[in-house]
């Protein structure tokens, strides 16, 4: 029996994808003690059971009740060490009535009426990498709320191709685990499988799994080891320098034990407010240090360092990324590189027509002068940018005038945008994938960003909508990782593909932003009161029933005085209507949006910086190397030109 003060875990069965219901749930859970809305979203979306919160049973019960009320399956379990560890299978025997498993100590019979929990897991961690890659690709190309975790069939095949282990737990009549056996491929005698036996160890394991599925119905089969976030169940990366097999086997034992406990205790029920006392087998005294170890694993998943912005629920889904008509920047770079490469190739194959031109440009210093001119242009570009930032006064969002504006404030989401890699609520992200080429250099292979998702900038007078499309965005938060490596999402790792890396840059919600852009009207021009009155009177004339109310003398005709009264009444009605609309909170918002200026020479900067001076200083510093290179290139060009012209 466990005390209600004893640390407990709130475990929830996650769903495949986010939804409005999920946002509502998180909003409702946000006020509960021991609850972190950011971690919760990660835990509620995914595969299998995930840890949502930890604390005393009293503390977790309200959250569990909310989950149950909203139709989620959840469990409140005490923190405890496994009381049963599976023993290794030595041999087996398959017959018509069932399957007999032989360990070093005893034999276990699996038959039709057995109650069974089976866990098929991958010890190497490579399946986690595969699942993450799958999820990341879906996040990037379909949006975070449309991503689906990897399917059961695909996952099972991936596990069997990696380092599979099958744990079978037999439950007694009360649902408690009685016996457990572990099947390691190649480590048991498969002859008992008869004709189904194969030379492949993994294949034999699959045969056992299939037989168990046929014999026992219903049964619990979990493929989520490593994918589900549960305390003490993390998977170490398979590496030569550190031992990983034994820790991973221990994690698998803890995972299986937790699944069995979930089966034994059953899902939380809302009516279950009193402490239910279930007879339990005598357990080993749980050391406080063990509890702390388990809780430490939970607490290791630290929340963001910055103060958490106010969690806002009910935000709509981000709009779908519009299909771009032109080429993306990496495509332009690829095309440019291909054309340059083709040019160089042609020059090497047949240098005839171009060689004199190139030689002449180099001999006369024309090439160096061109380099100098280009650098000079870039130097002045940054200088002009610096002066533009310095010369533009800061506006307040409340009184924003149309045209080029500079605003400071905090970033707030308009849509439920979450960064694909770090899963943080953000107003903007940029994700780039690099591949290592033959020369061991990183080459940009694809890029995506949330430039199509508008957000708000909020200062102490109000907020304004910002459309970041085509902006020069300077985020400060940057995450870098290799494919297969798990960065922030889950605290565990898997085999890493060192030839491919991802870089994610984000502007998290609540960050202080500097924006220099063009403020413009966000909606169709307003119709004047006079136009609306004319339109309303026109409609009135076509409605005889409505006209009757203005026929004060009842002669069936509208005289001039009656028409004047009708006109005045309509005008007053419209005036009141428009005033009511204007006074309604929220309706006067979003009239102005900051966008990319139509004139290409004007800048559109979105910079995550607390100080404008920092931004201008960095632009000043950018210009210096360009001026230095320009001076050097011009001096070189002059030297060559003087020599070429024979002026020395």
């Amino acid at each position: 029996m466990t005390s209600s003060k004893h640390p407990h875990l709130l475990i929830v069965e996650s769903v495949a994808a986010g939804s409005r219901e999920l946002d509502t749930l998180i909003a409702e859970l946000a006020g509960q003690p021991g609850f972190d809305p950011y971690l919760a979203r990660q835990r509620l979306i995914g595969r299998g059971p995930n840890l949502l919160a930890e604390g005393s049973k009293e503390l977790l019960r309200p959250s569990a009740n909310i989950l149950v009320r909203r139709g989620w399956r959840c469990w409140v379990l005490p923190v405890e060490a496994p009381r049963l560890v599976p023993t290794r299978l030595r041999s087996l025997h398959l017959d018509d009535a069932g399957l007999t498993l032989f360990t070093a100590e005893k034999q276990i019979r699996i038959q039709r009426d057995s109650r069974l929990v089976a866990v098929l897991g991958d010890l190497s961690g490579s399946v986690i990498g595969k699942a993450l890659k799958h999820l990341m690709a879906q996040n990037v190309y379909s949006g975070v709320d449309r991503a689906r975790p990897i399917g059961d069939d695909e996952l099972q095949q991936a596990i069997l191709r990696a380092r599979p282990v099958l744990d079978l737990y037999l439950l007694d009549e009360e649902g408690e685990p009685g016996d457990a056996v572990r099947l390691l491929p190649g480590r048991f005698d498969p002859r008992g499988l008869g004709e189904s036996m194969s030379l492949s160890a993994a294949r034999n394991l699959q045969v056992v799994l299939d037989q168990v599925r046929q014999i026992v119905e219903p049964r619990i089969l979990s493929l989520d080891f490593g994918l589900a976030v549960l305390p003490g169940c993390q998977v170490e990366k398979a590496a030569e320098e550190i031992p990983w097999e034994r820790p991973n086997l221990n994690s698998l034992s803890r995972f299986g034990w937790l699944l069995c406990r979930m089966q034994a205790c059953g899902p939380h029920k809302q009516a279950d407010t009193a402490e239910t006392v279930r007879p339990q087998p005598p357990s080993l005294p749980l050391q406080p240090a063990a509890v702390q170890d388990l809780l430490g694993e939970i607490r290791g998943e630290s929340p963001p360092k910055d103060p958490l912005p106010e969690h806002r629920s009910g935000l709509p889904q981000p709009p779908a990324c519009p299909r771009t008509q032109g080429l993306s920047r990496p495509q332009w770079w690829s095309m440019g590189s291909a054309l340059l490469g083709l040019g160089v190739f042609l020059l090497l194959v047949n240098p005839g027509p171009l060689r004199p031109v190139a030689g002449y440009a180099l001999r006369t210093g024309l090439l160096q002068a061109t380099l100098g001119a280009v650098c000079l242009w870039w130097g002045f570009h940054f200088l002009r940018l610096k002066r533009r930032v310095e010369n533009t006064p800061t506006s307040k969002t409340r009184s924003l005038a149309l045209g080029l504006v500079e605003v400071h404030g905090r970033a707030r989401r308009k849509y439920a945008l979450v960064s694909p890699m770090s899963q943080q609520p953000c107003v903007y992200y940029r994700l780039r994938r690099f591949r290592r080429d033959r020369n061991n250099r990183w080459k940009l292979s694809s890029s995506s960003d949330s430039g199509h998702v508008p957000f708000y900038l909020e200062d102490n007078t109000g907020r304004v909508l910002v459309d970041p499309a085509r902006a020069s965005v300077r985020p400060r938060s940057r995450q870098e990782g290799f494919s297969g490596q798990q960065i922030l999402m889950l605290e565990r790792s898997s085999p890493v593909d060192r030839d491919q890396k991802w870089i994610e840059e984000i502007i998290a919600e609540g960050r202080f932003l500097y924006i220099l852009g063009h403020a413009t009207e966000n909606r169709a021009p307003r119709i004047s009161l006079r136009e609306r009155v004319v339109e309303a009177l026109r409609e009135l004339k076509t409605d005889p029933v409505a006209m009757q109310q203005y026929d004060l003398n009842g002669d069936g005709q509208i005289c001039e005085q009656e028409w004047s009264a009708a006109r005045k009444h309509v005008e007053e009605q419209l005036l009141h209507q428009s005033l009511r609309q204007e006074s309604r909170p929220g309706t006067s918002r979003d009239r102005v949006v900051i966008v990319h200026p139509k004139h290409r020479s004007l800048p559109f900067i979105i910079a995550e910086t607390a100080s404008e001076a920092h931004l201008t200083r960095s632009y000043g510093l950018y210009s210096l190397p360009f001026f230095a290179v320009a001076l050097f290139a011009v001096a070189w060009a002059l030297l060559i030109l003087v020599e070429y012209l024979g002026l020395n």
Partner: protein
């Protein structure tokens, strides 16, 4: 040879200086126009406030039978704004209008029915928003002027400014009457 190279470098530096001077000149022109624009942006809001007044008076007329004097003062101030000649006159008329409006809103306190009227609430909120926005834009105007005035006195901008006669611009200053402390009387008559 060295002479030619030095000459070339001198020409390059001269080119850089010319481009830089052009950048400064363009920047100053931009700042000067920004001041004009920010002044015009205040006018836009003043005009909006001006256009809202007839609606406000219309709504108030129904309730404030005994405050014709106050309403007439607002109407008079509005017409003064309309007929003002020159920047100074316009500024004074706008200030007078602000004062009369303030008086009107103080008088409204005596008319609970009017205060509860949705049309009046909408209008007063709208005028109050406009007042806030006007204050913001005056601040913005002063920022624009300050940046410009600093620029034309700084090196190297001062050289270009003197060459092309860029003179300093005045800040927006409020009437001395508005700087006086407000006397609050809690005795209701």
């Amino acid at each position: 040879m060295a002479l030619w190279i030095l000459l070339g470098i001198f020409l390059f530096v001269l080119l850089v200086v010319v481009i830089y001077a052009t950048t400064i000149y363009n920047g100053l022109v931009n700042l000067r126009n920004n001041i004009e624009k920010s002044w015009s942006n205040i006018d836009v809001l003043l005009k909006q406030r001006f256009d809202e007044l007839p609606k406000l008076i219309k709504v108030c007329e129904g309730y404030m039978q005994h405050e014709q004097k106050t309403l007439e003062a607002v109407i008079k101030a509005r017409s003064m704004v309309q007929n003002a000649q020159g920047e100074q006159d316009s500024l004074q008329a706008q200030n007078l209008l602000t004062d009369t409006l303030r008086s009107l809103f103080m008088v409204v306190e005596r008319y609970p029915d009017l205060k509860a009227d949705s049309a009046f609430l909408g209008l007063s909120r709208r005028i109050s928003e406009l007042e806030d926005m006007i204050a913001d834009r005056r601040e913005y105007y002063n920022d624009s002027v300050t940046i410009y005035n600093i620029r034309i006195e700084q090196i190297p901008d001062v050289l270009v400014a003197r060459l092309f006669n860029f003179t300093d611009r005045p800040l927006w200053r409020i009437d001395a009457a508005h700087r006086q402390d407000v006397t609050v009387n809690f005795q209701h008559t």
